[in-house]
């Protein structure tokens, strides 16, 4: 088990190393002079260009040899120094990311966990049940094929713009400040429902389809037929099928993380939700390159950690991996 986990950890460390290297290399090895490119797109006021150019070449550390630039980049990273945001000068990038992070997590974690739970339950119910299957399956396919931002736009249009049941944007009312109070919590929840639903529904469809197919597959297998032949009630057979079908779904959860994070980014933008997605958009629009690079590193680190947590969960859930991994 330890060997299994340490092998996984090695892959994740390697991935982190590659990601940091990409993050470092892209501004340096893209065609053209990055600083010139930056300035030409920033529409800076005449006269300020000289100062900006000097600032950038110092900030990127272009004045030392490449290998030293690379080492400096790592050193800065370990100090938690991701550079300084241009748009919110002189706020450090790490500070901006940290203040946006709670909102993104508040959307992502419930959306991932609840859609996984509900999608699997509904998918398992639908398998091999004609009426339910013929309604749940097409609906699920439409949902997984829906771009999250568009579902967000439609929900906002229907429930916020047309019927005015929910607020159209923001994470809390304009009249209150974030605080640990009931009033804030209620306002937060009220603003949270629509963006959450957009993320939840799309992910839900994927899990329902996956579970439905896996259950059908499990119900075909020998142990299911044997149980049924022994006269076990179909409810019991399905229970065992569900447990076995859940395992590939958990592996799928790790694979789907990237897609859910991408979904959260675009959905946040639709609702002007003050998380990492909205931060990404403003960074892109303002050509705030350090911020973009910081968010990139942060997203990847988050996904890597989540992957590792899922790996541990997998070992806990499936006893076969524990024994198998010790043996080989």
């Amino acid at each position: 088990m330890l060997r299994y986990l340490s092998r996984k950890a090695a892959i994740y460390l390697l991935t982190f190393f590659v990601a940091v290297t990409i993050d470092w290399a892209i501004p340096r090895f893209m065609p053209g002079d990055p600083i010139e490119g930056l300035l030409s797109r920033m529409h800076a006021q005449p006269g300020s260009e000289q100062a900006l150019s000097g600032y950038y070449s110092q900030a990127f550390g272009f004045d030392v040899p490449l290998w030293q630039q690379y080492l400096n980049f790592w050193a800065a990273l370990f100090r938690g120094d991701l550079g300084v945001s241009i748009t919110n000068f002189p706020t450090p990038v790490s500070e901006l990311i940290m203040s946006a992070l709670p909102y993104t997590l508040a959307l992502l974690l419930p959306a991932i966990l609840l859609s996984f739970w509900a999608g699997n339950k509904v998918g398992a119910l639908a398998a091999r049940r004609k009426v339910l299957d013929n309604t749940v399956l097409p609906a699920s396919y439409v949902l997984t094929a829906t771009p999250q931002m568009w579902l967000g736009i439609v929900l906002a249009w229907l429930f916020a713009s047309t019927w005015a049941i929910f607020p159209v944007s923001g994470a809390y009312g304009l009249d209150i400040q974030p605080a640990w109070s009931l009033e804030f919590a209620l306002s937060f929840l009220y603003h949270w429902i629509l963006p959450f639903s957009a993320l939840f529904l799309v992910a839900f469809g994927g899990w329902a389809i996956g579970m439905r197919n896996m259950i059908i597959y499990e119900l075909e297998s020998d142990y299911s037929n044997y149980l049924a032949a022994l006269g076990a009630p179909s409810k019991l057979v399905r229970k065992y099928a569900y447990r076995n079908a859940l395992l590939p779904q958990i592996t799928g959860l790790a694979l789907a993380l990237g897609a859910v994070v991408a979904g959260a980014i675009v959905v946040e933008i639709v609702f002007s939700y003050p998380g990492l997605g909205t931060l990404t958009l403003s960074a892109i629009q303002n050509r705030d390159y350090f911020l973009i690079q910081g968010i990139f590193l942060f997203l990847i680190t988050g996904v890597l950690i989540a992957n590792f947590v899922i790996d541990i969960a997998y070992v806990v859930i499936d006893p076969r991996t524990r024994i198998g991994m010790q043996g080989s």
Binding site: D23, P27, M149, W150, L151, V168, N213, I250, I300
Partner: protein, 318 residues
Amino acid sequence: MSVTEPPQRVAVSGEAVAGPAHPATAAVVEPGAPVAPQIHSEFLHFALRNWKFVVGASVVLGCLVVALVGPLLTDHTPLEFTGPTDQPPSSEYWFGTTSYGQDVYSQFVHGLRAAFLVGGLGGGIAWVLGASVGFTAGYRGGWIDDILNMLTNVVLVIPTLAILIIVAAYLEIQSYSAEAVIIGLTSWPWAARAVRSQTFSLKTREFVDLARLSGRSTRQILTTELAPNMSSYLLMMFILLFGGAILIGASLDFLGLGPSESISLGLMMNNSFLASALLLGSWWWFLPPGLGIVALVGGLYVMNVGLDEVFNPKLRET
């Protein structure tokens, strides 16, 4: 040739995994489909009786026809600011106009073309990469497999959109082909994993041993023995990659990182959103691009389930 081999149990240990965000459609395919001359007629026989395949394929075909013929039916170009602004659908402007006086219908049909380009080219590149990496890793084994597997795992964990954001931010994307290439280069890993585990299970079968004993070259074995036995699998993989590339491309365009000189469905959503079409209630502007994507990608996915049932009798409804 054996057709009754049980389907491979994929994803038992968390190591052998098949399937992306839509895990199961690809996860339960039988690797050994019959490779006989009558396959086409037999395939057609079951395909045309499978409503999922028929419905999905018709929707996709319908989208293709709209994308090909649609632009010819209108005199308006997608980007010129000539018409009246914010008009609901009318006989002159079939899908209405944008806040800038652009024709939404023309934008939609051109956007659909871009979606096919990004899906076909991006999905195609990912398909070629995934299949070659998977075949090589699975067939060769040993240290080649170790290296390719590590590469696959590394690219697999990095969120595609995150890497696309940083690439697109520095390298301004000029065309949809360029966007498709970047998407293709980053979305192949799950396909490689799936092909690898399928190849693993196929290469120990007798007919492959026989081919090896009779002195066939590795390339011949791959193309004449392994690939035909996985053709159904490879076809479905391409369809999933096609749909996935369209969705990723739409997100990228929605973020404003795609080509800005032409139009796509994602860019339409971006434009309508930035122009507050939501608050103005200009539904004719922001509904069509999403509906187009849902129809096209949903059609592809439903077609895929249909194909799955056609190729794998166990999945057919009883």
